[in-house]
Amino acid sequence: MKERKEITQLIQRAINRDESACQKILNLYKGRVFSYAYRMVKNYHDAEDITFDAFIKCFNALPRFDTSKSFLTWLFTITHNVTMDYFRKNKQEYEYFDERHASNENLVQDYAQKRRMERIDSALLKLPPIDRELVILFHKEEYSYQEISEIVGIPVTTIKTRLHRARKRLRALVHDKPKKP
């Protein structure tokens, strides 16, 4: 509650072109937005461009932001739209797996404990961008299905189905000799 009040105050100051408020907003959220963008496009420069455009759009649209809603969800909605523009611009399919991204990756690797995260990160690339996005928003950003639905504009039931399928695929990619129960 206190955090929400602080964010609302920051937003008010940012609307009034307060540079330090904008800096604080950037410092609070740029890591999360950038990580999300980076996992989506897996290219540092492109992820930085997406993060940059998302924040510029966010600050310019701040006067229209409804403060009764979650700022971060709104920011992620903007980032999602910018990422979609990126996919469109680069003629990449959002809903289907793009071979170009994973062709040089050997994704089913050894099970060394220390490399588990890298394996998951690599396995994420095997998923279609939409599924990758749902997995990141649900597991990494800990959004509810309803919030994810607001961000990506897909019905909750579709999100659930896709996420369940994505999880199973990830498990199969990460673990050696996957066995179905």
Partner: protein, 173 residues
């Protein structure tokens, strides 16, 4: 219980939507079925690792680029502190030079506390020299006590300003 049903329960658990009854059902089955147990462990581990993925950051000049694009003038913390210090110092000097309060009031307060008196004796020479250097125009109208009070006010002001800036830096970190 069918494996398909178990998979559904595992997905519900990962969705944070599983009920106590369903959890008990799941636990009971997992205790008997090694295949489902392995599947469940792998699914849970995958979910856990996803939540622990590291956070990356853009380059260090990212903020400056955004601020520049927005057309906001960047002001550094030390500039603000410098302006505040100079402003408060001048304000304090002018206030005490033309203060309607009588000097006796300050003297009475200072002499009533021996520590302040001792401090005053030690710093008097330094302060009067400093006053002559810093404000030659008003040196004749100032008693040596007034700049001391001005200095104390300035220090207090800087202290609280420092606290405020520190809070900002913490937030940035």
């Amino acid at each position: 219980m069918k494996h398909k049903e178990i998979e559904r329960l595992i997905q519900k658990r990962l969705d944070r939507e599983i009920s106590h009854t369903e959890q008990r059902k799941l636990d009971k089955h997992l205790a008997q079925c090694p295949d489902c147990r392995r599947f469940c462990q792998q699914m849970m581990q995958t979910g856990k690792v996803l939540g622990e993925l590291t956070q990356s950051y853009p380059k260090s000049d990212f903020n400056a680029r955004v601020i520049a694009r927005l057309g906001l003038k960047r002001r550094f913390a030390w500039t603000k502190a410098g302006i505040a210090f100079a402003g408060s110092w001048i304000a304090a000097l002018l206030f005490f030079a033309y203060s309607p309060l009588q000097q006796q009031v300050f003297s009475r307060i200072a002499t009533s506390i021996p520590t302040i008196m001792r401090l005053f004796d030690k710093t008097e020479l330094v302060i009067s020299s400093l006053t002559q250097v810093l404000s030659p125009a008003v040196k004749n109208s100032l008693s040596t006590l007034n700049p001391v009070v001005g200095l104390v006010f300035s220090i207090l002001f800087i202290y609280f300003l420092g606290k405020a800036l520190q809070k900002e830096v913490k937030c940035k970190a």
